[in-house]
């Protein structure tokens, strides 16, 4: 199945579920005493969200079309990418393995999707140097995707024979059993580099601290704000929040990712503009602008 068909399925699913979720939200919002629900395809009280999303999505589609036409879209290089290359380089020098931990969430988390894209690129680099790449996984759904990403990476590097399927390891669904097992891998297989990129929760410090104690070079990245402090203190470099998505777009140069990134940059620029205008007006005592952002 080609990418176009997969995209079509994703698009149809997204539209269908968005509509269903809207109906459910309307149902929940209805008073409990009502026995008959009044369904609407469009919630007129949320016109501001509609306009915002329409602007952002139009921008994203426009940037994607530009990227597809081969127009250059500038994204500044983030230091975390150099850190990943440095970590792989160090593992090569030491002749030791690289441990890639893609977080603990399932494929429905955008961070895991970004992590899989980075994994493919890391695998491509590692394949050239002929060192083992170990990927412990918590969610069964992620296993086939990780296998595919690593296999493609090795294939792109012209080393499909070097791909070891057993190194993509399903560990356990249980969060702390997974953490305990990954700690064991760190201590027994002594990887020279640990890459922790994806969605992490309470296990983040357990993993990062154990990795630091083994002397491995560590690069981490997550958009889970509460786990970032642990990575900042225990890792050599941390990709903060959106930098994780930027890394995946930068490495893959995939038009859809580049377009999305540029679109979200435009959204941020609009948010900054709205905050500046809103703050000035609020300070002057003018309230109507702030009310534009009230959501019912």
């Amino acid at each position: 199945m080609d990418n176009r068909k997969i995209s079509l399925v994703i698009l149809i699913s997204a539209i269908w579920l968005t509509l269903c979720s809207q109906i459910l939200l309307a149902q929940e919002a209805a008073p409990l005493t009502e026995t008959k629900f009044d369904y609407h395809w469009f919630d007129t009280k949320r016109w501001n969200i509609f306009i915002t999303l329409a602007i952002v999505f139009s921008a994203i589609l426009w940037f994607i079309s530009r990227a597809k036409k081969g127009k250059s879209l500038f994204i500044r290089r983030i230091a975390g990418l150099d850190a990943i290359e440095e970590a792989v380089g160090r593992a090569t020098e030491m002749g030791k393995s690289v441990l890639y931990i893609p977080g603990i969430h399932d494929m429905n988390d955008i961070q895991t999707v970004a992590s899989m894209i980075i994994l493919g690129n890391v695998a491509k680099t590692i394949a050239r140097y002929d060192i083992p790449l170990i990927v412990p996984i918590r969610q069964p759904f992620v296993v086939p995707v990780a296998e595919e990403a690593v296999r493609q990476g090795y294939l792109s590097a012209g080393r499909p024979d070097a791909f070891v399927k057993d190194n993509i390891r399903f560990i356990s669904d249980e969060q702390f059993a997974y953490a305990a097992a990954v700690n064991g891998i760190m201590l027994r297989e002594r990887p020279a580099a640990n890459l922790l990129l994806g969605s992490f929760y309470a296990e983040s410090l357990l993993l990062a601290e154990t990795g630091a104690s083994t002397g491995a070079i560590q690069v981490a990245g997550t958009a889970n704000i509460h786990q970032l402090p642990f990575f900042v203190v225990a890792c050599d470099y941390t990709l903060i929040g959106e930098e994780l998505f930027v890394a995946s777009a930068y490495l893959s140069r995939e038009p859809k990712l580049l377009g999305s990134l540029k679109g979200s940059d435009l959204a941020k620029a609009l948010i900054v503009l709205a905050i500046i205008i809103g703050t000035i007006l609020e300070t002057m005592g003018v309230k109507w602008f702030t009310k534009l952002f009230v959501v019912q």
Binding site: I6, V9, I10, L11, I12, S13, A14, W16, L17, T18, S21, Q22, R46, I49, T52, L53, I75, R76, I78, F141, P144, I171, S172, D173, E174, F176, A177, Y178, A180, A181, N183, G184, L187, R188, L205, I225, H226, L228, P229, F230, V232, I240, E242, E243, V246, L261, K268, A269, I271, V272, A274, I275, G278, T279, E282, T283, T290, F293, V294, V295
Partner: protein, 203 residues
């Protein structure tokens, strides 16, 4: 048993040892078996089998077969020739979740955040509120500048971005302290179990 396993896991602080390895293997093995049984009975049987083949007198709900079919397609990975079928349920899950969460995220992470950041920079007669509002607006502005990837961090723009990262680090510091305290309470809970429930030294 609880004390033996607790001490086995804590022994990791000394170094990797056979006791820890035993506890780790036991934990991983039991959790894998536990989750398999839980998912089998709570999802496969309770959601699929019971709804498609309900007790006498209740109408069957064939819509659940869609989920069953998607699950079956995932298993087709085991047959290499038609393994590509498993991409469909994956696409469905990724796309479906994106669609379902879209409005919620736009609401909570977008509109409400912007609205909460639009604040007056001068609150008459309230210096604390004035300073707080200024810090909030400036911090948000600088943070957003740091996460703008279409421009190099150079010159004045770079200095604003650097200020943004300072704000982030202060936030991380506060969050770190808060979470460490929460972890301390977990440790206290375990110590209470060892010295109170088990050894009876704490009354």
């Amino acid at each position: 048993m609880g004390a033996f396993l607790t001490l086995g896991i804590i022994s990791f602080l000394y170094k990797d040892n056979p006791w820890y390895k035993f506890c780790e293997a036991l934990f991983v093995g039991i959790s894998a078996g536990y989750w398999f049984c839980t998912v089998f009975w709570s999802q496969f049987v309770a959601k699929l089998v019971d709804n498609v083949f309900p007790p006498a007198g209740q109408p069957p709900q064939y819509a659940y077969l869609v989920g069953g079919l998607l699950g079956f397609m995932m298993l087709l990975r085991l047959v290499p020739k038609i393994g590509w079928f498993s991409r469909w349920p994956l696409a469905f899950v990724v796309g479906g979740t994106a669609g379902a969460y879209l409005i919620g995220y736009a609401l909570s992470n977008g509109m409400k955040q912007v609205k909460s950041t639009i604040l007056p920079l001068w609150v008459s007669g309230n210096l604390n509120a004035t300073v707080g509002n200024i810090i909030l607006v400036v911090g948000t502005f600088c943070g957003l500048v740091y996460f703008f990837f279409s421009k190099e961090h150079k010159g004045t723009y770079g200095k604003i971005a650097k200020l943004g990262i300072f704000f982030l680090m202060i936030t991380f510091g506060a969050s770190f302290g808060y979470t460490v305290m929460a972890r301390m309470s977990l440790l206290i809970g375990r110590m209470d179990f060892l010295f109170g429930t088990w050894l009876g030294l704490i009354k």
